[in-house]
Symmetry: C2
Subunit: 721 residues, 2 copies
């Protein structure tokens, strides 16, 4: 009997014992690409799409309609088996999952099935007939669909497969030197693609880029896997470096009915950026913002679609430092004589209403906050739905504004939101997180704010002995500006102990690292390091995003200088914490953050004991024209700025342990950066460490990313602990 | 008074105090290229040359004749000032030092002045007249002088500047793909140059190499310093990988009087090696050893110089594994019907006497030792002067042998000798070291052995607290063969302590690391590490040089396997030493030694805690045809051997800390080796470390070499100490 009693007691104790003994994180739990990442820490999600005004939930094997107000399943719309039967009947390959299906026609029960990017079909959900299908050749990419017509590129040439199945060859001389239908200007100025269908699908505007005059960066493939030889092969990549000869972009318009291409008569494209392509609703005009190479003056220009003739400058905009248009104009659905335009000309990114004559009619949003994304319009209510950080600089919430500039928040007012607007604009599917919650999915009315929670992700972190996350502000080095920081404290934090501290930094424009999303935006690696006993700090210095133009432009022509001063305020803050061991400070960052890390290690060599810089910029003269010259001008026009910020000139200052890691084929911060720094350190008699991921680009993904974070962690464990 | 007394006592004590407190070495003291290397540890030298039978000593500012028996200065032969006055008078640029002057005409007082490789002049020492001068264009290289005629190459084309000043253009289509007058077959088979003057200077034999069909390895120059762009540039290097298509070599003969070139009629050059070019004394015949790609069969072939016609095969030689001719035949100065030929056909490298009919007349040397270099002949005494390791496998001493195969040692019988023979062959200038002495220079009679010591370098090491060096033998893994090891013990060695131990390994053919030279061949880094408290071991495993063919060929088709077994005997030996901490074993090596280091770390992962591999071979499939296929055959014919020795397949075994270091532009073990291993480790989830020297080749020189050894040392201090 006694034996059993003992067992009973043990069982009774187990739950609380288990509570105390929570799981330890592995890197696989915490890093995207890790074997247990999706299962153990990534918040579960629901794949909800709009079919007209209906909310559809996509599962692997079925798609069902949900009640917009309750989230309850209303009825199944289609099954995987049904889709596959229809595909088989039409002699097409089947699919494994419905997650890439959609119902893009509000008024028709048509299912768009994507097997791969290159293989798609349109089924009639009613009878299972295949209405249309396409299977593009291997190598087809940049696929851009309009109804049943596909634009795509193969080997830098542009093609259109029309709904009759006819292939139109738009270019023939495409090659590495001359590209058609691909993104240009290195994806700056909001450019992410190279084809632009007209609203009714009669025309395709596209980019042509001549980069024959641009230097080729010799990327080396060490595993060419080619019959001829196993010897490494060079794979040249066009890379215009700051101040050097740049590419020339022109814009073509393909008339699908006439099977004819014209080019916009924009004049000599040398040292000009053609950005933010937009169509007039009636397809008769096309607009783009044309920027000078200095990036301090732009104009919105109107062209005739039929002839390509330049009609007029709609308006101009300048800035003493730089002007960076990232959003094409958008015409009001209810008035094709008016469009909205986003600019930071008052210091913050705001929505302005213009008429097509170029007259600014009204500033629709204003205040010390930034409009982030335009989600769309509600035609009936005549409102614009957008996101902004008006509620808090570190939040992103959904708002609407009407034509009288009256704005109102929509749905939950905490956290960080991504939303998808229904076709009418009456509802949003609102997917968001907040510091304590990893994910909610709400459906929210843009009209009256009626909100229904469709999904809340279970708290996967409860099983772990998680760290503590804190957010706050400190003053920037200018003594005035508030900077947001996030502190991550070890799970069993004891304020009487002394912990080593590591700053994770990015610091560059168009990005931030602290926000009001889950855990204040803490990364898996912060968590891992906290678990290992490090205090982790991140701080968004001046120069980072969402804080207005002055905040961003404080760094102009001297990237890194003001940013470092602000980060040193973070160091002061760390040193003020009684539980931080100031003799054991480390720093880590990637890309611009790698530049910051290396800058900090070589500018404040007595402050940091250890750092890991990933894919760093080392000297802006090795960075590309578009991004680089915006912030730094050219080496010729800003020699002091380039000299002061070059880490080649600071290589001799290195004292602490610094490891640089780079992707062996990084096309963004080319290996020349890191290798030049290593060479400069050798020449100066200093001793950085080095690692590389052969074959990888600017970032590591999948298992490489897990490996990378083990390498980074190990370095701090070796040299900072 | 008391004050002075005290001072006196202090002075008295100083010398013995200073004796006890010997200097500590810095890497600059120990590593070639270090700031204090020449001053503090490199043994002083004397530049002694032959002028006929006279010994001349070269200083920077004067050249004087020394008494062959006493070493005493007899008279000044010429001064720097005098040479410069003569140059000035002739309108030529002056020189800064006489150290590159010579007096190549035994019977004439002519001084050959070399300002640079490209600028030279011949002065009459009597009257200071310039008899001849030449200044080749920048870019001229491979300069080969015969009296007053120069052969040279520019941009892979071959030229001859004759003594009348006329330039003969021998080739015009030279380029990276087709080379003339340059070394071929990647300097294997004893080839080190591409031009071969006939004995009387009437003909120039030269190599032509077509490598258009060979893969180009994409070396990348990160500092191109070219006006057009600062972007990194690819600099392709022809690199035939094992089993892949190789280059084609032909041999031309330029007739300087007829200004005409013919090519030897050797047949299809595909997959053949043309090596060891030799002239008959009368210039009517030319000989070369022609080897098949398998390198297991060769023939000495005689050609007609006038027509290029193949006359006959003089003799053939085969070997079941491989046959590696490294020495051209040499005709006896006293009998042009006979020549000597070196071969290891009896298992050791020995001298054989042949007649021109191809009949072997006599084996002149024999025994279990190896003939190393032929220094020349004594025509009058009819002897051959050569070096061998007959006295001890780890020594190199001077010998003579007569035509009756009677051999005798010449001069000092210890240590490691390099000697220069006088034109008559009566004397040698013998420059040598032995384990306890860094350098002696003796003049020794080859006739009677009369020896006079001209110079003994002062003992620079006495000022330092130097380590102890020990040499001995252990049995190889075959249980039979003696292997030589060197042990370097910390300066204040205490047998009761426990020291970490590091093996410095090379292990490949054509090299050794233990010999009877100064400190038994210990390298500066061994000394530095010993000073830091490491026991250093080096061991010449089977496969290394000077121990005969069977010893070398034990590794055939499985490079690394037997070598590692032998090195593990070294580990056993280390573990048997009571003062070695077996839990702290490290290993370091470069090139083949980098291959050995990585092989050992991944094959015996529980033995070695830490290793540093430099410029390693990782997979022999990435190594070049000539060296690689000799020992490994091709990947097609020896798939098992390639698989078993590939470290890509062992990357997952890595447990200890391993750093790989490579020259960023290594043309020998191309970066593909190291980068492929890093990639394999990432894929396998293991964690090597990495460093590179951008812009450097297979080895680091100058200050880079000092930096390198700090990096290596630091790694062991971080992870083994």
């Amino acid at each position: 009997m006694k034996k059993y009693t003992l067992l009973f007691i043990m069982f009774a104790l187990l739950p609380s014992f288990a509570m105390a003994q929570k799981k330890q994180f592995t890197l696989d739990d915490l890093i995207p690409g890790g074997a247990t990442y999706r299962q153990n820490t990534y918040p579960d999600n629901r794949y909800i799409i709009w079919w007209g005004e209906h909310c559809l939930m996509l599962d692997v094997d079925r798609c069902y309609m949900i009640n917009r107000d309750t989230g309850a399943e209303v009825k199944v719309v289609f099954f995987l088996d049904g889709v596959n039967n229809a595909l088989k009947k039409a002699g097409l390959k089947t699919i494994n999952s419905l997650l890439y299906c959609s119902m893009p026609y509000a008024d028709k029960p048509y299912i768009l099935v994507k097997r791969t990017d290159r293989e798609m079909a349109l089924l009639d959900g009613k009878d299972g007939n295949v209405l249309w299908s396409a299977s593009l050749e291997p190598g087809a990419t940049n696929i851009d669909r309009f109804d049943k017509t596909l634009a795509y590129t193969v080997d830098h040439n542009l093609y259109v497969l029309d709904e009759m199945g006819k292939t139109h060859t738009i270019s023939k001389d495409g090659c590495l030197d001359i590209t058609y239908g691909e993104s240009v200007h290195r994806d700056e100025f909001g450019i992410s693609k190279g084809t632009f269908w007209s609203p009714k699908g009669n025309y395709l505007a596209f980019y042509r880029m001549d980069q024959s005059m641009v230097s080729s960066y010799p990327q080396v493939n060490i595993n060419p896997n080619i019959d001829k030889s196993r010897c490494a092969q060079v794979e040249p990549d066009k890379y215009p470096m700051a101040g050097e000869t740049s590419h020339k972009v022109t814009v073509g318009i393909f008339d699908i009915k006439k099977d004819k291409t014209i080019y916009l008569d924009a004049g000599d494209p040398t040292d000009r950026y053609f950005t933010n392509i937009a169509w007039s609703p009636d397809e008769s005009k096309i607009y783009m913002i044309e920027l000078n190479r200095d990036q301090n003056h732009g104009e919105l220009v109107e062209y005739d679609v039929k002839t390509g003739a330049r009609l007029r400058t709609v308006f101009e905009e300048s800035n003493a430092k730089y002007f960076e248009p990232c959003n094409p104009i958008q015409f009001l659905p209810w008035n094709s004589d008016k469009f909205i335009y986003l600019t930071r000309k008052d210091g913050y990114n705001h929505i302005y209403l213009y008429n097509t004559k170029g007259k600014m009619l009204k500033q629709l949003t204003s205040g010390k906050f930034e409009v982030m994304d335009i989600l769309g319009f509600n035609e009936k209510a005549k409102t614009i739905i957008y996101t902004s950080n008006e509620i808090s600089p570190i939040q992103k919430n959904v708002f609407k504004v009407n034509m009288k500039a009256k704005r109102e928040s929509i749905g939950n007012t905490t956290g960080w939101h991504s939303a998808s607007l229904s076709p009418s604009g009456n509802d949003i599917i609102d997917n968001y997180s907040s510091p304590l919650f990893s994910r909610h999915v709400d459906v929210v009315s843009t009209l009256d704010g009626w909100t229904s929670n469709i999904f809340s992700a279970p708290d996967k972190w409860a099983q772990f002995n998680a760290p503590q996350f804190k957010v706050g502000t400190i003053k920037a080095a200018d003594g005035v500006t508030d900077l947001y920081y996030r502190l991550t404290l070890p799970p069993d934090f004891d304020a009487k102990k002394k912990y080593p501290a590591v700053i994770y930094v990015y610091g560059g424009p168009h990005a931030h690292v602290v926000d009001a999303s889950f855990h204040y935006g803490a990364r898996g690696w912060d968590v891992y390091m906290a678990q290992k006993g490090y205090v982790m700090l991140s701080l968004d210095n001046r120069g980072s995003e969402h804080r207005g133009l002055e905040f961003e432009q404080a760094t102009f022509r001297n990237l890194g200088v003001e940013e470092m001063k602000d980060q040193m305020k973070g160091v002061e803050f760390l040193k003020s914490l009684p539980y931080v061991d100031a003799s054991r400070l480390g720093v880590h960052g990637w890309s611009f953050g790698g530049f910051m890390t290396t800058s900090l290690m070589t500018t404040y060599p007595d402050v940091f004991k250890c750092g890991v810089a990933g894919g760093p910029v080392i000297d802006w003269k090795y960075y590309e024209v578009m991004y680089g010259e915006r912030y730094m001008d050219t080496p010729e026009s800003n020699p002091e700025g380039y000299k002061n910020t070059s880490l080649l000139n600071k290589a001799g200052n290195l004292k602490g342990r610094l490891m640089i890691i780079y992707g062996g084929n990084d096309p963004t911060c080319v290996p020349q950066h890191t290798l030049s720094f290593i060479r400069a350190c050798i020449d100066a008699g200093t001793y950085p460490d080095l690692f590389t991921y052969p074959g990888d680009g600017h970032n590591m993904f999948g298992t490489d990313r897990v490996h990378l974070h083990e390498v980074i962690t190990r370095y701090f464990e070796d040299h900072l602990k």
